[in-house]
Symmetry: C2
Subunit: 197 residues, 2 copies
């Protein structure tokens, strides 16, 4: 419909999650018609995202260094590890200010339908982190849906061979939902009410 | 919540129309976690959009040259000019394949509340295009809302001093809506049923 670049940009924006053709068109024209919009900044950040942002060697959270800011922070309680599916979940839990321990990002959840098994997740790395006995409690904060529950059950069985307290977030969270979209209060209460598995 | 670049990119995406903080976060993580997403292409297109895309000298449509593809096309009927508020509306009308004339983009609509008067629109340029007598009909395709109707009324009074047929798109369009979001059939019928003002 448009000359080259405009249509190309609309197509590229349309590839992003949650952006349909109309939104993509609106965004492209907004950028074109808003002189104050800093296009070079967005352009530069996109390049830097791929070049400089990676995942923490230890916990799998996003980081611009080998270790993420949370793993580097000496004030964090080294005896607690909160296991989440995704790096976005770390951010959601941090907003509650309920938890001062460390994290472990699995990189997904067990899902036979999607063909994701335990070996596709960062479970071996978790076991390695637990080997030296520093960690006394592992909090399973996978999503309260089918895949998340299956993953929590799998991990709790695996971890019961070690002398570690294994807890699960309280089911104050709406079942079938996504941890990422829970509000701070609900997520905070779920932390408080976590139960021993 | 995140280290520098990720949060900066989330903030930048959040500045775009229709993208809230959650969507911005989802987009940033999608780009980070999808190796097949061509980040350099999006980055390059953003730069080129500002550098190379401008507005047609004649009609005000988007173009990578001084004249847009429609104004350059000798097969277009030079005796019809369809007046629209925005370049996005040109694309919407083109999709109907009902109209084979030329366009004139006003760059908005008269709105006393937003402080936009006739002098802020490309009306002088329209009058200049009509001066040589080539154009025999001007179709007013401003949005069927308060501002668009006011603009159409203003223009129809102005154009009645010239010997030119002035028409308005039929009110098959849902009133209060946005021309940009009309489906092809509705917009095509509105073209067929246009009435003399």
């Amino acid at each position: 419909m448009y000359d080259g670049i405009v249509q190309d940009l609309i197509d590229e924006f349309g590839r992003l999650p949650g952006i349909g053709p109309k939104s993509a068109q609106r965004i492209a024209f907004h950028i074109l018609q808003t002189p104050t919009f800093d296009v070079s900044k967005l352009s530069r950040l996109l390049g830097e995202l791929r070049e400089r942002v990676r995942f923490c060697d230890l916990c799998g959270n996003v980081s611009e260094q080998d270790r993420c800011a949370i793993c580097r922070d000496p004030r964090r309680d080294q005896s607690f590890i909160c296991v989440v599916e995704d790096a976005k979940d770390v951010s959601a839990i941090e907003r509650t200010r309920e938890f001062r321990g460390l994290y472990h990002v699995l990189g997904g959840a067990i899902s036979p339908i999607a063909g994701i098994g335990p070996d596709d997740l960062r479970i071996a790395q978790l076991m390695q982190r637990l080997a030296d006995g520093t960690v006394t409690e592992v909090i399973l904060a996978t999503n309260p849906n089918l895949e998340g529950e299956a993953t929590a059950t799998y991990l709790s069985r695996l971890l019961h061979t070690l002398e570690i307290r294994v807890t699960r977030l309280a089911s104050g969270l709406p079942v079938g939902g996504d941890l990422e979209y829970a509000d701070e209060v609900t997520l905070g209460r779920a932390f408080e009410g976590r139960r021993v598995l």
